[in-house]
Symmetry: C2
């Protein structure tokens, strides 16, 4: 049985991105560390790129995933650029309020639209993933929902040395009190620090 895991890139002041969809600049300041990596390019079917610890983190993050869960915003955002052969190569369960038919693409990716919430999406993804992991792709909202529902086993935080000032906070409006975290890995990348935590009921302190 695989794990349910996720990762978010976060600014030093705790933001995962901008509130305005148009704010590409902010988005890129938080997420841009990955865009020149060898592992990122490979995922998009391209060669070249920056090698090293950051790229290794991405390779490890993308390995052993049997199914994805994704928020509607991220799907809408990526749908066109991903094209005929999206970079998932696995079933993707998209949280949405509007039921649609399953959308099967090339290379093993399919998008299944789930209208009854995060627990249901994770249950379907686990069944599809078999012994492999379920990865919650983002954005922050589905990760927060999974965390809050006690359905996340592992959380990775990419601490990016930028300050946004405003934006979408990583864990806003959710009380994760009682959720414990045990750091299982810390990787010091070129500029970003990658911290992985096992999620478990908090030990008495």
């Amino acid at each position: 049985m695989g794990k349910v895991r996720s990762s978010l890139s976060v600014s030093i002041d705790g933001f995962v991105g901008s509130v305005e969809e148009q704010a590409w600049d902010d988005h890129n300041r938080v997420h841009g560390w990955a865009y020149d990596l060898k592992a990122f390019n490979e995922q998009q079917g391209m060669a070249g790129g920056r090698d090293g610890a950051d790229s290794d983190v991405l390779v490890e993050r993308n390995s052993g995933i049997g199914a994805y869960v994704m928020g509607r915003t991220m799907f809408d955002f990526g749908d066109e650029p991903w094209g005929a052969e999206p970079p998932f190569h696995a079933p993707v369960f998209v949280l949405t309020s509007r039921l649609r038919d399953v959308d099967v693409r090339e290379g093993g990716t399919s998008f299944t639209f789930v209208t009854d919430g995060i627990a249901s999406a994770i249950k379907l993804a686990k069944e599809a993933a078999g012994d492999e992991d379920v990865f919650i792709s983002g954005g922050a909202s589905p990760v927060k929902q999974a965390f809050s529902a006690g359905l996340l086993d592992e959380f990775q935080m990419h601490v990016v040395p930028v300050l946004l000032g405003t934006g979408v906070r990583m864990f806003d409006d959710v009380d994760l009190r009682g959720v414990g975290l045990e750091r299982t890995q810390a990787v010091v990348g070129d500029t970003v620090t990658h911290l992985t935590y096992r999620v478990a009921p908090e030990a008495a302190q």
Copy 2:
């Protein structure tokens, strides 16, 4: 000429403590990692404690400091427990709205009350520190003010694996856009990850 530096302990969800002063439990969940350390005990004039990377971080943090800047809340909080010989052994400049006489204690600690803001307090502290560093002790508010005024040279973040859900956010209501951070050190402690950043105008990205 020394640096102006500071450090804050922060939960995974970005809080430095509780909004309610009584919430000792939350305070200790964020700051408790330091309380059993050898270096912390030594600072209080006691022996024993946990040795290793976390303790080394504290030793380094407390070294080479010629003067402190402190918020009024922290002063009120510590005034009594610190007693006749507070653990600073250097001049401390306390931000407050109410002027008081300089309060000279044993062991080299003095408290000077500054009523005209962070820039003035840092200026006085720099003069007192000479070639040594100025350390902004906290809480989060004076650190934020120094950051925002462009007066901070180095910022250390102790990333503590707890989730508070609510509380005082590290950098709330302050736009630090344009402030750049370059990670200069990353120390993986027993449970806490210590990240140090040089503050500089943000490089074009």
